[in-house]
């Protein structure tokens, strides 16, 4: 199959949706002539013109709120917030408006929009351009939160997101933008709430998101050679979360590691660990371990930043710890 990068896959999903559905349009900062800071929207302005690919002023609350209003009145906006760090300047629009309107209005009115943004450190962009606090959006009822880990999923999940009637936080990962993978040319969707088992194994379950999936897969190869078989589950959407697939695996292996790039305290890792402690405690044969970023802001200096990012070493260390319980 043809290969695309993660960024290209997202670009293609945007393009195909805009072709199929006149209601779909894009707003964001520097998504037009510039093509988006990560080139995700490159070429779309030329193709669809400035009414459907809108470069906005530097006003996240303004344009995210405008997307809410447009979505309520018949459009299907897809907005780009350049970095998840900047969702803080439009948090009211996300948390109090976008997420709650359908409920608050007793089902009158809906907000079918997608907010695309990205997480992840590793580009030397320091504490205000490198965060991964997507767990907060999972904490807010009314939102759906999507975390594609490969080009194929990026396209399929974004197609689903744009067709979805509910507001979706589509959380991309900076490190993945340039990674390649097979992506069908045709339009396809991937249902929300269905995890993908990326690797089967009997010994330890690793629930991993985004780039942590790839990191975990690499670690799994090494351990496999030593006879330890890791099962790697990619939830793909964090809300809705495919609890059953995760729990089935935990019940089978009795050992769980959760790996996500967010800081550990009150992160996604905690949610999935708590799920296991609540629904499968009697199967747990070892401590549930969490792999994630340390509880510090993201440092700039490359050696510190490399230490900061949860990587193969961190996963390996967790697996080693659980080995004692095999």
């Amino acid at each position: 199959m043809r290969e695309l990068t993660y960024a290209q896959a997202i670009n293609e999903a945007l393009l195909q949706n805009m072709e199929r559905d006149q209601r779909v349009f894009l707003m964001g900062e520097d998504i037009g002539k510039y093509g988006g800071i990560f080139q995700v929207t490159a070429g779309l302005l030329d193709r669809f013109g400035p009414d459907r690919v809108m470069d906005t002023p530097l006003s996240e609350a303004g344009f995210v709120g405008a997307a809410v209003g447009a979505a309520m009145t018949g459009m299907r906006p897809v907005v780009e917030v350049m970095f998840i760090d900047f969702t803080t300047v439009c948090m009211d629009m996300i948390v109090n408006q976008m997420a709650k309107i359908h409920y608050m209005f007793g089902g009158r009115g809906k907000v079918p929009m997608v907010l695309r943004t990205n997480i992840g450190a590793g580009r030397g962009a320091a504490a205000q351009h490198s965060q991964s606090f997507h767990a907060f959006f999972v904490h807010i009822p009314g939102l759906m939160v999507v975390t594609p880990s490969c080009p194929y999923d990026a396209k399929g999940l974004l197609n689903t997101a744009i067709q979805e009637e509910n507001p979706v936080l589509f959380v991309e990962h900076k490190k993945l933008y340039a990674t390649k993978g097979p992506v069908p040319e045709e339009f396809y969707t991937i249902p929300f709430g269905r995890a993908e088992i990326r690797r089967r194994g009997r010994d330890i379950t690793i629930v991993a998101t985004h780039e942590m999936v790839n990191r975990a897969l690499r670690v799994a190869e090494d351990f496999s050679r030593e006879g330890v078989e890791l099962e790697i589950i990619d939830p793909r959407t964090l809300r809705p979360l495919d609890q059953e697939t995760i729990l089935d695996s935990v019940r089978k292996t009795g050992r769980l590691i959760v790996a996500d790039e967010g800081t550990v305290t009150c992160g996604i890792q905690a949610e999935i660990a708590a799920l296991a402690a609540e629904e499968a405690v009697q199967y747990l044969q070892a401590p549930v371990l969490r792999v994630g970023s340390p509880d510090t802001p993201v440092p700039f200096s490359p050696p510190l930043e490399q230490m900061y990012i949860p990587d193969e070493e961190d996963i390996r260390a967790a697996v080693e710890r659980l080995r004692a319980y095999l």
């Binding site: 009414d51 006003s59 709120g65 109090n96 009158r108």
Partner: protein, 322 residues
């Protein structure tokens, strides 16, 4: 442009409906029948009536925490409103929203909003949407003087101006954001000057003169509908009640009763009444009949609300997602 008899009576009736609705809420609230927060619109009726009097059914509004007047003027049904305030299942939001969240997208009401200024970007988006869909719908965005200091005011007006969107920003300057007077919260006198920051026209009007509001709003709305872009329309007015029901002594902590008194003498309804009678558009008796009729509607609305059931347990979990 002179207003027709029909137009004048219609403005009058709208104001009476708002006034009586709010008085009814005040009473029900005092008796503990309405829970939560109630921010009443008494004294400001001319703004909602005058502005919405210029709107078509398919036009949009965004409203505020002090929203009963706006939604009544835009055509909301009193009984669904009242049921909502009671927290009943038959209310506009099935009892889930209450006073601060009344909405009916089907008649263009994109919702009251508990976040002061929160409706501004939403209104801009609705206007963008109608422009993209190629309709001639106009959006009116209501907010207060206090909210004109919220950053979204700035972002929303700028965005609307660069895109020349069909939206009218109606700032109801009632001189207070809760207890903080306009003098304390901004150095300018006319909020309409803020339009300059966006290359947008700005107008200030006496918000207690429903005819003046109607006429100025008409200009701004026609301008928007013609594709000429947004306007900032400031209406100076006053709220008679406390910030919300429960604000002690109607705000005695931060304003004098003389000030309140002075503004009550400028009652927008009385003012129109005098014109109507003087110009022989209506007789005192004819006007009295309007009050009676509306009182009847109010009775029916309250009865409807009271007789309606509360939501059931499982309703809690519904409507989180479509």
């Amino acid at each position: 442009m002179e207003l027709s008899r029909h137009q004048l009576l219609s403005l009058y009736t709208t104001m009476v409906r708002i006034r009586l609705f709010e008085e009814r809420v005040q009473d029900l609230y005092a008796r503990g029948l309405i829970p939560g927060l109630a921010h009443l619109y008494v004294g400001q009726e001319a703004v909602a009536a005058g502005v919405c009097g210029q709107l078509e059914p398919q036009d949009y509004i965004t409203s505020t925490h002090r929203g009963h007047g706006h939604v009544i003027a835009k055509g909301a049904e009193l009984r669904y409103m009242m049921a909502e305030l009671f927290g009943k299942k038959t209310g506009y939001c099935k009892g889930k929203g209450g006073s601060m969240h009344i909405a009916d997208v089907s008649i263009g009401i994109l919702g009251a909003n508990g976040i002061a200024g929160g409706g501004i970007p939403i209104a801009v988006g609705a206007a963008l949407s109608s422009k993209l869909r190629g309709t001639d719908q106009v959006t009116v965005c209501f907010f207060g003087d206090g909210s004109s200091n919220n950053g979204v005011f700035h972002e929303g007006l700028n965005l609307a101006s660069v895109r020349r969107l069909p939206v009218v920003f109606v700032c109801e300057n009632n001189f207070y954001g809760i207890s903080v007077s306009q003098k304390q919260h901004q150095l300018i006198e006319d909020i309409s000057v803020r339009s300059i920051a966006y290359g947008m026209p700005g107008v200030t009007v006496d918000g207690n003169d429903v005819v003046a509001v109607f006429q100025e709003a008409g200009k701004a709305i026609r301008r928007a509908r013609a594709g000429e872009g947004p306007t900032l329309l400031e209406c100076k007015t006053y709220r008679w009640r406390g910030h919300h029901e429960g604000d002690p002594n109607q705000g005695r902590r931060y304003r004098s009763m003389e000030e309140v008194q002075k503004w009550m003498e400028r009652c927008p309804i009385k003012r129109l009444e005098q014109t109507l009678v003087a110009k022989r558009v209506a007789s005192r008796k004819g006007l009295q009949e309007i009050w009676e009729r509306v009182r009847g509607e109010m009775e029916a609305a309250v009865q409807y609300a009271q007789e309606s059931p509360f939501p059931e347990a499982q309703d809690l979990y519904e409507d989180v997602y479509v």
